[in-house]
Structures are given as C-alpha cells and as structure tokens.
Symmetry: C2
Subunit: 346 residues, 2 copies
C-alpha cells in the first residue's frame, strides 16, 4: 500500500507528531510511506521518506522541499507541465492536537474527497474537547470520572474535595495539566491551564488509581488491541510523554481477569461505533471500586498505539479498505427549475 502520512500542524503537539510520524517508518515495513508535513504556518511540504529525521524540521531545512496544493481529489505538486498529483491510496492523519484532532484535517479530506484514517468531524469535535467527551459518554451509557467545569471568566470556585486534577479541555499530552493538593494551589494551576485554553475541567485526583488502555478500530470486524496497564508516576509530564510517542515494539497485556477485560472492551465499543468509524483510537479507562470509568479518548494516539497490536500494519490496510462512505447527495436543481417555470422564465 501507498500511505500518505500527514503530520506536524499548528499545534502544541507539533513536535510529538513529528516523533509519531518518524516512528511509523519503523513500524510500517511493507508500506510505501509518502510523508506530507504541515508546517507551523500550515503549508504542505512533501518530505523525502529516505531522509526524514527530526532535525529536518527543527532546522527548517524542510522548506527546501516541494510545497503541495490541496485540490479536489488530492495533493498536487507544481511541475513543468502544470500540477501533478501526489500518488497514494489514502491519508493517515497523524497530527496530534489542534488541526489534527479538532476536525480540520478530517474536514479537508472529506471536502477534497481523499480517503483517510482519522476520526470524522463530529467524532473529532466531541473527543477533542474533554467536556463534550463527558456529554458523549453520558449519552452512550459509558461512565466517566466526576467533574466540574470552569471557563476563563468564571469565578474560580470548586465544590469537589482535594486533591484534584486540572485539565485544559482541548489539549492532550498532559499539556497544562496540574494536580492540586489544596485550595491555596488552585489559582496557580488555573493560571497555567488558562494559558493554553479558555476552558478547563476539574476531576478528583485518585492516587494510585488502576488505569487501563485499549485501542482499536472496526474494519469489517472488531480489531481490538491488548489491554495495557500503563506504567506510571503521578502522571506523565510532557517530556516523558514525548518519549512515549516513539514506542514501536509490542508491550505485554495487563494481568486482569476476563470479566474486567470484557467490560473494558464493551465500553470501548460503545464509544467507538458508529461515531469513530474510519479511525484508530485509544481509550483510557480507570477502574474505581470495580467500576470501569472512561478517563479519556485519544482520537489520534501517540504513534497510533501501534505497540498494542499484533498486526498493526495489516489492520491499517484493512481499515483503508473499510472506510465509511460519505452520503451521496445529487443536486438536480429541480426547485430552481420549478420556480423559473412559475415565473415563466423557463
């Protein structure tokens, strides 16, 4: 297969997207990868797969590459004989954070009729925003951690017992996240969070909570990963998560009983189908007092959570063959014709 990997973007997670993208080269051994970089100022660049490395971007050298234009049916490169299509079978959206996870890339792929793996627009809007994820989970009967919500201009008052964890609603990779042990620390933590976002949610911080991750997709069958119990400290800071995005070898399944595993899988399926069809997502769950709670949806997980799957490359191919189809709308101008007739103009 020929897969175009879109990465970079105008995002706080721009650099970890580069790491994720480079990791794919090690993981996708039989695939012909076409790298398309979205620069910080949102131009598209074709990157030589043989030469890709992180320095190419940090040095700005990528700018010497070919710039691409997005038009109906694909990406195009200027050539001596006019625009030439960049040839591939489909796009893998690997932009973490803004642009990739908020629905912009999906919007454009759909508009320009390019097959792509990524949560579609609605799925993006609901999972990119942690508050809306709560609404979604609730409507699907999936339990989540209790929460409060504060907007930048709201009074800085919470009802919940300490310790709490503060999260900007629209960011991943622990950016802007703080654990707050007592009321006197709240203000500072909110200052940090509001540097990154206009809205935050506040959840109880549960020391030593059991956490389990599951990734997957639906091709014409459910393809679910192993359940992983991530090793962790209080929580991963950005640099540690950053290293985490370059994982490329399979990890061990968590040592849990079948009923808990099934429970986690059922919750994943409730979230995934039908909203997330066409995407590979990772859901992170907590288990508290025997209850499975959705902690977060990762709509574009680090290195696509490849390390949780037996046959990641095969799954990617199967997913490309089973992407959701956009509804066809045929426009016949019958209303305009009938109005013209009524006016005697037809």
């Amino acid at each position: 297969m020929n897969i175009a990997i879109l990465f970079g973007g105008s995002s706080f997670e721009h650099e970890i997207s580069i790491v994720s993208a480079i990791t794919m080269k090690k993981v996708l051994k039989k695939t012909n990868i076409i790298y398309i970089f979205v620069s910080p100022d949102r131009a598209f660049y074709l990157v030589d797969t043989a030469k890709i490395n992180s320095k190419l971007f940090s040095s700005g050298e990528y700018k010497k590459g070919k710039q691409l234009t997005l038009k109906q049916g694909g990406f195009f490169v200027d050539s001596m004989f006019g625009l030439k299509t960049v040839s591939f079978d489909g796009v893998l959206n690997l932009i973490h954070g803004r642009d990739g996870e908020d629905g912009k890339i999906s919007s454009m792929m759909e508009f320009f009729n390019i097959p792509f793996i990524s949560p579609r627009m609605e799925a993006s809007a609901l999972s990119y925003n942690k508050l809306y994820t709560k609404f979604l989970a609730e409507s699907l009967g999936v339990k989540t951690v209790a929460y409060e919500y504060l907007s930048k201009n709201d009074k800085r008052k919470i009802v919940m017992d300490y310790p709490v964890i503060i999260k900007p609603v629209r960011l991943g990779s622990s950016i802007g996240v703080s654990i707050v042990k007592e009321p006197s620390e709240l203000d500072y933590a909110l200052d940090i969070a509001f540097e990154f976002d206009t809205d935050v949610i506040i959840e109880p911080f549960i020391e030593g909570v059991k956490e389990f991750n599951l990734a997957g997709c639906y091709t014409n069958n459910w393809e679910l990963s192993i359940v992983e119990e991530p090793q962790k400290e209080a929580f991963l800071d950005f640099e540690k998560k950053y290293m985490d995005f370059s994982r490329d070898s399979q990890v061990l399944a968590a040592d849990i009983d079948d009923s808990l595993k099934q429970n986690i899988q059922e919750n994943f399926k409730k979230i995934y189908e039908p909203l997330f069809l066409g995407s590979i997502i990772r859901c992170d769950f907590f288990v508290v007092d025997g209850e499975v709670l959705l902690n977060e949806i990762n709509p574009i997980p680090g290195s696509m959570a490849n390390y949780l799957f037996n046959d990641f490359e095969g799954m990617l191919e199967r997913l490309f063959k089973n992407l959701p189809k956009e509804q066809k709308i045929s426009i016949d101008y019958q209303y305009i014709h009938s109005i013209q007739s009524a006016k005697g103009k037809a």
Copy 2:
C-alpha cells in the same frame, strides 16, 4: 467593505443557499460582493456579481467561470503570471446544511487563515446535529423540548405519546421531517427520515405551539434582532421554506410583553456566548406553559435572517471587525533540540 460570499456546496440545501446568496445582493447595498460558488462536486468558482442569477447554476453555465484554488491566505485564480489572490476583507459562509453548517468551511477558513463569519468548528458540530444541540443546551441551563433518539439500526420503538414530530438530526429546512399522528404511521415516517440521515430525534408535536425566533451576534456589543413570531402552518415544507430564504424586507416584531422578550434574549445569549462568537445565528424557541424552550439553532439562517434586523449591513461590518482570534501557537522545536543534545547530535 469587500465581502466574499461562499455559497452552494455538496448539500441537500444547495439550491436554497443559491437563493440566500442572491438575496444578499439586494440587502447589502453599500458592500462590494465577491461571489464564490462551491459546485456540487466541491470545486470553487468565481461568479460575476453583475450576472448572478439562479439559472447560471441550474444550467451549469457557471462552469465557464474561473476556478479558484484555496491556499494559505485566501482564494487564488490562475493568471498568465501565476496565481493571483482574489481580494476581499473576509468571507461570509452562506452554505446551508452539509459543508457549510457541519464545520467544513469553518475548518478550511481557519486552516488557511481567512477571516470569516460563521460558527467555528465546535459550534458547528454541536448545532448541526440536533442531538448534540440538546446536550449543549442542557449543559448551559437552556431548556429544550423533550425528545427521544433513534439510530438507523435501533429497534423502532418510542415511549412518547402521539402526535410526534420526526427529524433527521443533521438536516435543516424541514428536509425529511414528518408529523406522526399515530403508531401505524411511524414506520413510514422513519423510512423517510432515514433516507436523509443515519439518526433521528423524535419530539412531541405540540399543535398550535407559540413559536418565536431571535437572531443576533456579539460584535463588541450584543446585537440582537427583533423577536419574530413566524406565521406558520403545521410546519413549513421544503418549497415554502425555500421561498422563505429569499426574504429581504424587515418584518414586524412579535406582540409580546417585556418579560417574555427578555427571557428569550437571555436564552439566546446563553447559547451564543462564547461558543458562537464570530457568527450570526438564529435561535427558534417554543413557549409552552409560560416556559421558554429552545427548539432549534440555525447556525447559518436563511438569507442570514437579515429581515429581522434594523441595520443588517452595518452589523455585518462590525462583526467582521470583531471576529474571534485563533490562539497563536509558536513552535520552537525545543524538545527536538533537547533530545538531539541528549543524543549528542546537536
């Protein structure tokens, strides 16, 4: 001002978008309008403002016009000397239904850094889908009509008393909507709705319910329209709504007391701010037993609800001067640099 009007799109409401766009020419008397048509197959065409009429589109003659390319900073036209920018101050998104109201146009305008009037992506995702609108309203303390929800593959069973009204969740302009008086009619009505969408909501149909519409935006002040009591029959079918989209002269305010008016205005403001900043929306309310209930949000109302405002053209200019700014993200590659240092490569 020079305003580019985007209209058409791959939408069931393609034709009424054309009607809305042409209506703007009568309404915007001091504005220089640049018309950009999105064809049914989603190519961009520059349309001559002097020559615009509905037949240009129904006949396919628009295809003789210039095709445009979307790139960073604007729309571009091929000229003898390479690409040339189409010059305007901002875009008014006037695409009803898919592409316009679902967030695609907003995504692209934001990505390509073009100032635009339209609900932003999150606002689009939540208001384009009537189920998500319910979640949103609930979270903001705005009451709505009771509802049930059915997905295409769900059992066709409802709990609510008849008569009910069936609505596809993602369509406007009454497309696919039916009133169902008794259980025996349910199946047929659902068949119709599911032709247009995978999901529907069902609400009680309240005969003779009082309905009030209010449109508006926030510039650096609230600019709210008069409250209109739309004249109506059981409900407007598509052809009647279609004619409705060409309204261009101001209507009379509803004869209601100040406290009801204020109540409606307060509910509008709760919905609008901050999610809908940058857009002009119309909210349709029901009043049942003295309670104000949100019926629908119209994220891109027909002919922008110009007929509800005293100074629509002035408001449009003020809104263009007060659009929400995208958060700046500066990317300095410090993590990549520090990892390279750690590896001794820097």
